[in-house]
C-alpha cells in the first residue's frame, strides 16, 4: 500500500511538474485552487483537521479533484507526510480532511500546505496542479500554561500492544527531567532542545485505572504526568447461537471474551441486527440477548452480533431457520402407574411448541447398575411401559425431548424415582454348621449368609428353621429367628437330624436350604498341608472324591487369633476341586487354617482335607526366651521350650544360634557369620523347629561368650537383638571343690571330736563351777509358774540381826559396811525363836521376804546353786565329794520348795559377800542330817576375794552356825 502510494505520488509529481510547466507556459492560474485553508487541532486524538473550500465552481457543478496535502514537522522543509486526497467537489462545499499524528501535537510545530488538481475526464485540459497554499503553522506549545514542563499526550486511550510516543516539553532547556513508566525510568531521545520523546512499543494492560507515566525535574518538587489508558483488545464474540423454546422468543447467547472496560472507556456493548427484518436491538447483557419472533411467519433469520468499544468493532453473523433451532422445554408431570414387582408404566407431558411439531422423547431407566433406554415419539403426552424389572428395587427414570423433525438440542432431563414391589425370596440361604460334642450332646451352631438384594426380593423379616429327627421321623421342631440374625445354636442329641432353613419376607418364603447334622462332627484326623497365600487370597485344591458328592465346602476363620473365630465358608459345586478363598480380613503374618468338607448325597458333610498357610509370611518379630543351664567350663545348654511355633507370623523352619567369642574360632557344626553390625560370630543351625534345646560345646574355660537364639523362616530370621552374656568357669575349680570339701569336712569332724574330747577331759579333770544364775533349775522353776521365786541378793535384804564374831574393835557393823580387807565372819541368826518343833529337824523361816519384797525385781527368789572357787575347793576336799555334797544339798533345797503352794516360801539364802557369789566358800561340808529341812546356809568370808593377808588365815575356816545356837 505504501509502495503504491509512493508510486502514485511520484507519478502525480511528475504529472504535476509537467502541468506546472504547462501552466507557467500558459501563465494561467488554476481556477479551482484550494482556498480558505484552516487547521484545527484535536489534542485528545492527536488529530489535525483541515478545512478548505474550492471557489469558482459553477452552481450544481461537480468536479472530481485531487488535493495534495503536505505536512512538515518542526520546520517546513522537514516534510513528514504527503497525501493525495481525491474527492468530488460541489459548489460551495467545505472540504474536510483529518490526519492523526503519531507524535503528540504539543511536542512539535507542524506545518500544513496543500494544492489541487482536477481529476475529471470532463475537463482533461485542467488536469495540472494548482499552486501550493501558504504554510499553515500549528504550534500548540504557545497555548500551554506557565508550568516548567509538560507531558503529552494527556489521557490517551490505546489498545494493548500498540506503540505510543510520549514527549515532554520543557520551558527551559536547562531543566534536567527524568520520566518514568510505572516507577521505571524511561530512556528517550531529544527531538528539540526542550523536547524529548519516548517511544513505547507494545504497551501492556496494567490496570483499569490506566498506566501512570510521569516526569520529574531535577529538583524533584515538580511532577507532571499522564495516564495512558491501555485497553484490552476487543475480541470477536464466540459461540454465537440463537434458539427458541416456544417459537415466540429467540434467545441468543455468546461468549463475550475479555472485558475491555477502563476508567475512561466503558465495557464493550453488543448490538443484535437482523438483516431480513432490518431490526436492531442493543443488548442489555454482555452474553445474551432476547429477540422477539415476528408474528408473521418469518422462518429465516440472519443475525449480526456486533461488539463495539471506543476503539474497535467486532461482528459475527448467524443465519438459520427458526424451526431448526427449537430447544424444547423439559417434560413435566412424570408419573409411574401400575407399579408391580417387575413392571411399571411411566407417563409424562410436554410443552406445546406449535401445532405441527412432533417431539422425540428419550426415556432412560437406571436401576441396579442397568440402564434401559427407550425413544418415544410424543405430541402431547408420553407413555412408556417397562417390564422385566427387579422386585423391591429403586429405579431412577428420566426423560427429555427434542424436535423430531429437525433435531437441534435435547431439552433438560426431568427425573423421577420409583420402587418396584417386593416378591418372595428367590434363593435358599447359604447354610453351614459347626458341631461340638458336649457331655453326650451335640451343640450345633447354624450359620447362614444373608441373601443378596437380588435374591431377597424384599426385606427379609425372619428365618424359619425346621429340625427333623431322621431316626424318629415323627419328631420335628420349628424355630423362627427374626432377621437380621445370621445364625443360631441348637442342642441336639446324638441322633441324625435334617435341618431346613428358609428366609421369609413380607411376600413369601425362599426355597429351603437343607443340611444333615449328626452327633459325629465328621472331623476325622487328616494331615494338614501347607498352602501359600497370594495377593488375592489362598488358592486351595483338593482331591476329587471317588463317591458321589453334591458339593464341597471350604471353611476357615477370618480372625483365627481373636476370641471370636468369625467362621466363614465357601460352597462350590461337585465338579469343582479347587477354589480361591479371598477375604478382606486376611492380614499378613496371620496363620489361617482351612478345612475342606465334602457334602455327600445324603447332605452329610465330612472332612476331606486341612490346609494352613499365611496370606503373606513375615519375618519373626520376636526371639524365643532362652534359658541357659548346665554351665561348665566347656559347654552350656540353651533351651526355649516355651516358644510356640504356631503363633508366629510365618512357618518356623528352624533356629539359628549365634555365639560370639573373643577367639572368633568356630568349631565344627557351626559357621562364621557376619552380623549387621559387622560383628563376626559362629552360627549354629537347627533345622528342626520342634527342637528347642541346644548344647553349646567346645568352649574355653574362663572365657566370655555371647549367644542369641533366633528362629528362621522362608522370609528371614528373627531380630538380632540383645545377646545374652555368659562367662565359662575355671576348669580346675570343680576338681578343687571335689577335693577341698571332703578335706574341710574331715578337719571339721576331727575338730569336733577333739573338742568333745577336751570337754570330756575338762569335765573329768577340771569341771566348771556351776553358776547358779545360769542354772537350768531357774527355768524349771519359772516353768512351774512361780515367778516370785528367785535368788535373794544379799544387798537387797535387811538382815534381822547380824552377830559379828571375832570382833576386833567391838563395834557392830552392818553387813554392808563390812570391809573386805578384814576377815570377818558373819552369822545369820533368826530373830524369831519359833520353829517347827524340837528335834533334829529344824525349819528355818525367814519372814523378811514378804509379798512386796518378793515382787521387786531386785529380790527375786531364784534358787542359786552354791559355787565354790576351785582353788579353795581343791584345798578343802576332793572335788567329787564336794560336788556331790553340793548337788545333794542343792537338790534337796529344790525338792523342798512347794511350787505354787504359798506366796511366801523360803528359799535357801545365800549370805553373799558384796562382791558377789563367785567366791562363796562352803565353810563346812554339808551335814548329812536326817530329815533336816535346813537349806544350806553359806557364810561367805569377805576376805576370800583376796588372798589371805595374815597367818591367821590358816586358821580361818568357814564356821557355820553354832550348833548350840541352832538346835535349841
Amino acid at each position: 500500500m505504501a509502495l503504491f502510494s509512493v508510486f502514485q505520488t511520484t507519478f502525480l509529481l511528475a504529472l504535476l511538474s509537467l502541468r506546472t510547466y504547462q501552466s507557467e507556459v500558459l501563465s494561467e492560474p488554476l481556477p479551482w485552487a484550494p482556498e480558505s485553508l484552516r487547521v484545527f487541532i484535536n489534542s485528545t486524538h492527536q488529530c489535525l483537521h483541515l478545512q478548505w473550500s474550492v471557489h469558482n465552481l459553477a452552481h450544481h457543478q461537480e468536479l472530481k479533484m485531487v488535493f495534495q496535502i503536505e505536512i512538515s514537522r518542526i520546520k517546513t522543509s522537514n516534510v513528514i507526510w504527503v497525501e493525495n486526497y481525491s474527492t468530488t467537489v460541489k459548489w460551495n462545499q467545505v472540504l474536510h480532511w483529518s490526519w492523526e499524528s503519531k507524535l503528540p501535537l504539543e511536542c512539535a510545530k507542524h506545518f500544513i500546505r496543500m494544492r489541487s488538481a482536477v481529476d475529471d475526464a470532463k475537463t482533461p485540459e485542467q488536469s495540472f496542479w494548482s499552486n501550493w497554499s501558504s504554510w499553515e503553522e500549528v504550534h500548540v506549545q504557545n497555548s500551554l500554561g506557565h508550568d516548567p514542563f509538560f507531558v503529552f499526550p494527556k489521557d490517551k486511550l490505546v489498545e494493548e500492544g500498540s506503540n505510543v510516543t510520549i514527549c515532554y516539553v520543557s520551558r527551559s532547556q536547562q531543566n534536567n527531567i527524568s520520566c518514568y513508566l510505572e516507577g521505571v525510568r524511561m530512556q528517550g531521545e531529544q527531538l528539540e532542545p526542550n523536547v524529548s520523546v519516548f517511544n513505547l512499543n507494545h504497551v501492556a494492560f496494567i490496570r483499569e485505572t490506566g498506566t501512570n507515566i510521569y516526569c520529574k525535574g531535577d529538583q524533584g518538587d515538580s511532577i507532571k504526568g499522564i495516564v495512558l489508558f491501555v485497553s484490552k483488545v476487543l475480541e470477536e464474540p464466540k459461540d454465537f447461537s440463537c434458539e427458541t423454546q416456544d417459537l415466540t422468543t429467540l434467545n441468543c447467547t455468546w461468549d463475550p471474551r475479555s472485558d475491555t472496560g477502563l476508567l475512561k472507556q466503558l465495557s464493550q456493548s453488543y448490538t443484535l441486527f437482523e438483516s431480513f427484518s432490518g431490526k436492531k436491538t442493543l443488548c442489555k447483557h454482555k452474553s445474551w440477548c432476547s429477540w422477539e419472533v415476528a408474528p408473521e411467519s418469518q422462518e429465516m433469520y440472519n443475525f449480526t452480533l456486533t461488539a463495539e468499544n471506543y476503539l474497535r468493532k467486532r461482528s459475527v453473523h448467524l443465519l438459520f431457520n427458526l424451526t431448526h433451532r427449537v430447544h424444547p422445554m423439559a417434560p413435566f408431570s412424570v408419573l409411574f402407574t401400575d407399579v408391580s414387582a417387575t413392571n411399571a408404566t411411566m407417563t409424562w407431558k410436554v410443552h406445546t411448541t406449535g401445532n405441527y411439531y412432533t417431539l422425540l422423547c428419550q426415556v432412560e431407566l437406571y436401576g441396579e447398575g442397568e440402564v434401559i433406554q427407550r425413544n418415544v415419539s410424543v405430541e402431547v403426552d408420553g407413555k412408556q411401559l417397562f417390564g422385566g424389572l427387579k422386585p423391591d428395587t429403586e429405579y431412577r427414570a428420566q426423560v427429555r425431548c427434542a424436535n423430531a423433525n429437525h433435531f437441534w438440542k435435547w431439552s433438560e432431563w426431568t427425573r423421577q424415582n420409583f420402587t418396584t414391589a417386593e416378591a418372595a425370596p428367590s434363593e435358599a440361604p447359604d447354610v453351614w454348621r459347626n458341631v461340638k460334642s458336649v457331655q453326650g450332646h451335640s451343640v450345633v451352631t447354624l450359620f447362614w449368609k444373608p441373601l443378596s438384594k437380588l435374591q431377597a426380593n424384599g426385606k427379609i423379616l425372619f428365618y424359619n428353621i425346621v429340625i427333623e429327627n431322621l431316626d424318629r421321623s415323627s419328631i420335628s421342631k420349628l424355630l423362627s429367628i427374626p432377621a437380621p440374625a445370621n445364625g443360631t445354636e441348637l442342642n441336639l442329641d446324638q441322633c441324625l437330624y435334617q435341618i431346613h432353613v428358609t428366609a421369609n419376607n413380607s411376600v413369601g418364603t425362599s426355597p429351603a436350604s437343607v443340611i444333615i447334622v449328626s452327633g459325629d462332627p465328621g472331623n476325622k484326623e487328616v494331615e494338614e498341608e501347607r498352602v501359600k497365600g497370594m495377593e488375592d487370597g489362598f488358592s486351595l485344591s483338593w482331591k476329587p472324591q471317588p463317591g458321589n458328592v453334591t458339593g464341597y465346602i471350604v471353611e476357615w476363620c477370618d480372625h483365627p487369633r481373636g476370641p471370636l473365630c468369625d467362621l466363614q465358608w465357601k460352597s462350590v459345586g461337585p465338579t469343582t476341586t479347587s477354589t480361591v478363598v479371598s477375604s478382606d480380613a486376611f492380614r499378613p503374618g496371620v496363620q489361617y487354617n482351612f478345612r475342606i468338607y465334602g457334602i455327600s448325597t445324603e447332605r452329610v458333610p465330612y472332612l476331606l482335607e486341612k490346609k494352613t498357610g499365611y496370606s503373606q509370611e513375615l519375618a519373626p518379630s520376636d526371639n524365643p526366651q532362652v534359658v541357659m543351664s548346665n554351665l561348665t567350663s566347656r559347654s552350656f545348654t540353651l533351651s526355649w521350650k516355651d516358644y510356640s511355633i504356631e503363633s508366629q507370623p510365618s512357618f518356623i523352619q528352624g533356629y539359628h544360634v549365634y555365639l560370639k567369642s573373643k577367639a572368633g574360632q568356630c568349631h565344627s557344626g557351626s559357621e562364621k557369620a557376619v552380623l549387621s553390625d559387622d560383628a563376626v560370630c559362629c552360627k549354629y543351625r537347627i533345622d528342626n523347629p520342634k527342637q528347642k534345646t541346644f548344647v553349646v560345646e567346645n568352649l574355653q574355660p574362663e572365657s566370655f561368650y555371647e549367644f542369641l537364639v533366633t528362629p528362621y523362616t522362608s522370609v528371614g530370621e528373627g531380630p538380632h537383638g540383645a545377646f545374652t552374656k555368659v562367662t565359662t568357669p575355671d576348669e580346675y575349680s570343680p576338681i578343687l571343690i571335689r577335693i577341698i570339701l571332703p578335706m574341710v569336712f574331715c578337719i571339721l569332724l576331727i575338730m569336733i571330736i577333739c573338742y568333745l574330747k577336751s570337754q570330756w577331759m575338762k569335765e573329768k579333770c577340771y569341771p566348771d563351777i556351776p553358776d547358779p544364775y545360769k542354772s537350768s533349775v531357774l527355768s524349771l522353776i519359772k516353768s512351774k509358774e512361780n515367778p516370785r521365786l528367785t535368788i535373794m541378793s544379799i544387798k537387797d535384804c535387811v538382815p534381822d540381826s547380824i552377830e559379828v564374831l571375832n570382833k576386833q574393835e567391838g563395834t557392830r557393823k552392818s553387813l554392808t559396811e563390812t570391809e573386805s580387807s578384814k576377815a570377818t565372819y558373819l552369822y545369820l541368826l533368826p530373830t524369831e525363836k519359833s520353829y517347827s518343833g524340837p528335834g533334829p529337824c529344824i525349819c528355818f523361816e525367814n519372814f523378811t521376804y514378804n509379798q512386796a519384797a518378793s515382787d521387786s525385781a531386785s529380790c527375786g527368789h531364784v534358787p542359786v546353786a552354791p559355787v565354790a572357787p576351785l582353788s579353795q575347793l581343791g584345798l578343802l576336799t576332793s572335788p567329787e565329794n564336794l560336788l556331790k555334797a553340793l548337788e545333794k544339798n542343792y537338790m534337796n533345797s529344790l525338792g523342798e520348795i512347794p511350787a505354787g503352794e504359798t506366796n511366801l516360801n523360803y528359799v535357801s539364802q545365800l549370805a553373799s559377800a558384796m562382791s558377789g557369789d563367785k567366791f562363796i566358800l562352803p565353810t563346812n561340808p554339808p551335814e548329812p542330817a536326817l530329815c533336816s529341812e535346813y537349806k544350806m546356809q553359806m557364810a561367805i568370808p569377805l576376805g576370800l576375794a583376796s588372798p589371805p593377808s595374815s597367818g591367821s588365815s590358816s586358821l580361818s575356816s568357814v564356821t557355820l552356825l553354832d550348833e548350840g545356837e541352832h538346835y535349841h
Partner: protein, 238 residues
C-alpha cells in the same frame, strides 16, 4: 486480599456501630462526656489511612517510588492543628462541619475515578461515616452554650458547598485526590486531638463550660425536639 478487605471493613463497621447510638435513633445524646468520647473515637477511626487513602493509592497505581512522596497534603487545604486548637469550641465545631461537608463533596467527585465496585463501596461507607460524624457535631453543638446566638446554617449538602476545581488532566486529578485524602486523614487526626483536649480540660473556657452547656443543651434539646421536623436533615439548627 481478604485481610486487606477486613482491614478496610472492620473500622467502618465499628464506626457504624458508634453512629448507631445517635443519628440512627434520631435523637442526640444529652450527656456531654459521652458524646465527646464518641466523637473522639470516631475521629480516631476516621484518621486511619486504611479507610480511604491506602485503597485509593493502590487503585490508582500511585504506590510507586517517586509518586508516593508527592501524595502529601497541600498546605492550606485543611485547617492545621494549631488553627483548630486556637478556635473556640463553637467555631471549632462549625469549621469541622464545614470542612467535612467539603470532604463529602470531594469524595463524590472522586467516585468517577474509581472503577472497582469494591473501592466504590469503601468510599460510600466513608461518606456515611462522615455524615454520621457531622450529626454528632450537631448534637455537640446543641450542648454548647451560646449556640442560639452564633449559629449559622452550615451547608452540609454536597451540592451547595463550594466545589473544587476539577482538572481534566487525569494524572493531576489523581495526585490531587491523593493529596486531599492525605490531608483529610491528617485533619481528622488533629480533630481527635482537639476533642481529647476538650476531655482533659473540661473547664478550659468559662464561656464554654460543659456543665453550663450541658444544662443549656438539655433545655435546648427539648426545644429542638419540638422543632425537629422543621429542620432540614443534616443541617445544624439555627
Amino acid at each position: 486480599m481478604r485481610a486487606q478487605l477486613m482491614r478496610r471493613t472492620l473500622p467502618s463497621l465499628v464506626l457504624g456501630l458508634l453512629f448507631l447510638s445517635t443519628p440512627a435513633m434520631g435523637s442526640c445524646l444529652d450527656k456531654y462526656q459521652e458524646l465527646l468520647g464518641q466523637l473522639q473515637k470516631q475521629a480516631d477511626i476516621m484518621q486511619r489511612t486504611s479507610l480511604l487513602l491506602d485503597p485509593y493509592i493502590q487503585s490508582q497505581g500511585l504506590d510507586k517510588d517517586g509518586l508516593k512522596e508527592h501524595c502529601r497534603e497541600r498546605p492550606g487545604a485543611f485547617p492545621s492543628r494549631d488553627a483548630l486548637q486556637g478556635l473556640g469550641r463553637w467555631e471549632f465545631l462549625r469549621t469541622l462541619d464545614t470542612t467535612l461537608g467539603r470532604v463529602l463533596h470531594r469524595l463524590t467527585a472522586l467516585q468517577r475515578d474509581i472503577p472497582k465496585a469494591q473501592d466504590l463501596e469503601t468510599l460510600n461507607r466513608a461518606k456515611q461515616n462522615i455524615r454520621g460524624f457531622k450529626n454528632n457535631i450537631h448534637c455537640m453543638a446543641q450542648l454548647l452554650p451560646g449556640s442560639s446566638e452564633t449559629t449559622e446554617p452550615t451547608p452540609t449538602d454536597p451540592g451547595t458547598s463550594p466545589s473544587p476545581t476539577p482538572t481534566s488532566d487525569t494524572f493531576q486529578r489523581r495526585l490531587e485526590g491523593c493529596r486531599f485524602l492525605h490531608g483529610y486523614h491528617r485533619f481528622m487526626h488533629s480533630v481527635g486531638q482537639v476533642f481529647r483536649e476538650w476531655g482533659e480540660s473540661p473547664s478550659r473556657s468559662r464561656r464554654h463550660s460543659p456543665h453550663q452547656g450541658l444544662w443549656k443543651g438539655t433545655r435546648r434539646m427539648q426545644l429542638s425536639r419540638k422543632n425537629k421536623r422543621l429542620l432540614p436533615r443534616g443541617q445544624l439548627p439555627r
